[in-house]
Amino acid sequence: MSSKTVYWWVGTTLLAAAYMAASMVVGGDRRPLLIGRTTDAHHQIEMACETCHAAGPFAGAAAAERALNETCRNCHEAELNAADDSHSRSMFRNPRMAAYWEKLDARLCTSCHAEHRPEITRTGAVTVAMDFCVACHSEDEQDIRLDRPSHAGLGFETCATAGCHNYHDNRALYEEFLVEHAGEPGHKPEPVHGLTARLRLRERPAETALGRDDAVAPAAALADTKVLALWAGSGHAAAGVNCGACHAEKPDAESEPADVAARTGPADVVAHWIEAPSTGACKSCHEPQARTFARGRHGMREHPGIAPPRNPVEGLERIGLSRVTPAIVTDWLADPFPPARMTVGEARLPMRADADARRALDCGACHRPHDVDTARAAVEACVSCHDDSHTRAYAGSPHHRLLQAELAGEAPPGAGVSCVTCHMPGTESRDTITTNHNQNDTLRPYEKMIRSVCLDCHGLEFSLDALADAGLVERNFRGKPKVHIESVEWAVQRSTADGRSGTR
């Protein structure tokens, strides 16, 4: 090997090392460092490495793993708490559970959900073998077959896949719940989704409602009669929300403490007019919706737990090079990822070819800014992008026909079933009903949908069977379930076998 070749080899290696070091410590594109395809949804934040890898660069393996697992809770803790987690971390952190740590360490999310391991990742980002229940529930006093003869012969790989049990969320699957709902008809006599019906039927106070003539905006804006008509027919106008609430710059709370409410006077609105308000205007009133939006796949990049792109100047300051680094290098080291919002083109689910791949998912992606027609956001917006078999089968499905009947006034409010009815159902807290904008909240796993949606119209057994029938889900519930889950019968048999009570 000639000395020239050696020089080239050494030089190239040093340059590559410098690039790697700069991208790790300071800023810049880190995609070459990605060690493996991330799981669905996490792929949106895979370049915000610090979101999960929170330990320092020289932390030991154990400390790094602890820090990594703590970060999971930044985004998933609320969901686990709401699920009444059947295998909570707090339960397994008690040292009396040490014998279980060696079987399956339930203190760590990463025991079952390893990241960057596409070759072993299954639905739900699960990366352990599907018979993981056997680790603890097959021997000694935890042997599930001790007092449940019905379970003899069942494979341990079927516990969490057959529609009977979930590792975290069993709110619709626990024994007493099954017994209580046993014998319900598949279709209830007057099927109506209760919270949806109440949302549709809510009354707005007539005295605060606004009309076209009440609009307060610059003359140029008022000249757009189409927009004006849309607004006048919207929920915003009905609720007394005038143009300035979104289009006028908000007063500064510190310098103008006397008037921090939305600007209302014509001169005030015109003077502070914003032609294209940001989504911040939406969030200022719709905070609960924004909070849940950031927990779902559409808006997760806005979640406060996600690390923002790195500031290269700060990175250079840490290593004492900020003053000697030319601006061109600082600019080159700016973090290009992740962008502020998810785009249609970044989706891993099938999307329509005619959907705008560059379309960012903000409030306006589903809601038109002036007509705020929630009926459009409930179906039309979804099907304008999603192109999987379940979505394609919706048109003409029994649920869709019910929605058409409701919109035509031939069925009562809440009888129709739109995409939002099942995937973004309303939640009630302190007499306020809010649409859950985390579109994934009822999907991890499917059984989470049972209590919040299915049981309003269907019996529990029918619901369990329908959700366990993958083909039926794909056909958007055209037809009857061809799968039968026996858990309700088994629970009833056990509850009546010895005449003793359950846990009530």
Binding site: D84, S88, R89, S90, M91, R93, N94, P95, R96, M97, A98, A99, W101, E141, Q142, D147, Y174, E176, F177, R494, S495, D498, R500, S501, G502, T503, R504
Partner: protein, 225 residues
């Protein structure tokens, strides 16, 4: 429900990390004195005071109090809080005022959590915040199998307090590569509702429990190293 007090003298005579097993361990040279606890009118204020004591109990260990003493202090706080909840919340609202019920599935039924559940929620909340100490309500005849004896010490301790309901059990054990001081306190059925539920529950192996019986024990662990 009982309250255990320890003679101050042994706390001064014996080193911090020594385990002790009630009166059955004469080498340690001290006795455990069991006294009955009567409900006082200002129980809530006392409970609040004890809660403050719990916060400082672990700190007390660091300042030189022996582990049994610290465990006893923790136990008194837990025991008082549980008794207050049982008598002043659950009993009052379910049996006297009859405006609510108490149920394991309290969220589904808009009911009160059972006292044993409140105890467990407290234990799990502690585990979310510290690994310095832990506690659990266990039994040789649990409804939920997870609450049965899980270690040799737990079995030995639960058997000891069942056979010696006026005494406590102390010891040390290694779990997950770390050493712990452990104390087991007898847990009695303080109201009829406890035995009724346990006797009638299909997952319970006992049907003959009576009010006042030792149904299990509270196990408190404090990390030594």
């Amino acid at each position: 429900m009982g309250r255990t007090t320890l003679d101050r003298r042994w706390a001064q005579r014996y080193p911090l990390t020594w385990g002790c097993r009630g009166v059955a361990a004469p080498n340690y040279g001290f006795r455990i004195v069991q006294r009955s606890l009567k409900m006082q009118p200002r129980t809530l204020m006392i409970a609040a005071g004890l809660a403050v004591a719990a916060v400082t109990a672990i700190g007390a260990a660091a300042q030189g109090l022996p582990y049994p003493k610290v465990a006893d202090m923790l136990y008194r706080v837990m025991s008082a809080d549980r008794e207050v909840y049982t008598r002043m919340v659950v009993q009052r609202l379910t049996l006297e005022d009859k405006v609510l019920t108490a149920s394991e599935h309290f969220e589904d039924e808009a009911a009160l959590p059972l006292p044993a559940q409140m105890f467990r929620f407290g234990a799990e909340t502690v585990m979310n915040n510290t690994e310095e100490f832990s506690y659990a309500l266990l039994s040789l005849n649990p409804i939920n199998r997870t609450n049965g004896p899980g270690t040799e010490l737990e079995r030995e301790g639960l058997e000891f307090v069942t056979e010696n309901p006026d005494e406590n059990f102390y010891g040390e054990e290694e779990l997950g590569g770390k050493r712990y001081f452990a104390a087991v306190y007898p847990d009695r059925a303080i109201v009829e509702a406890c035995v009724n539920c346990h006797n009638n529950h299909r997952d319970s192996s006992r049907t003959d429990l009576k009010a006042g019986d030792v149904m299990g024990g509270v196990v408190i662990r404090i990390r030594i190293d």
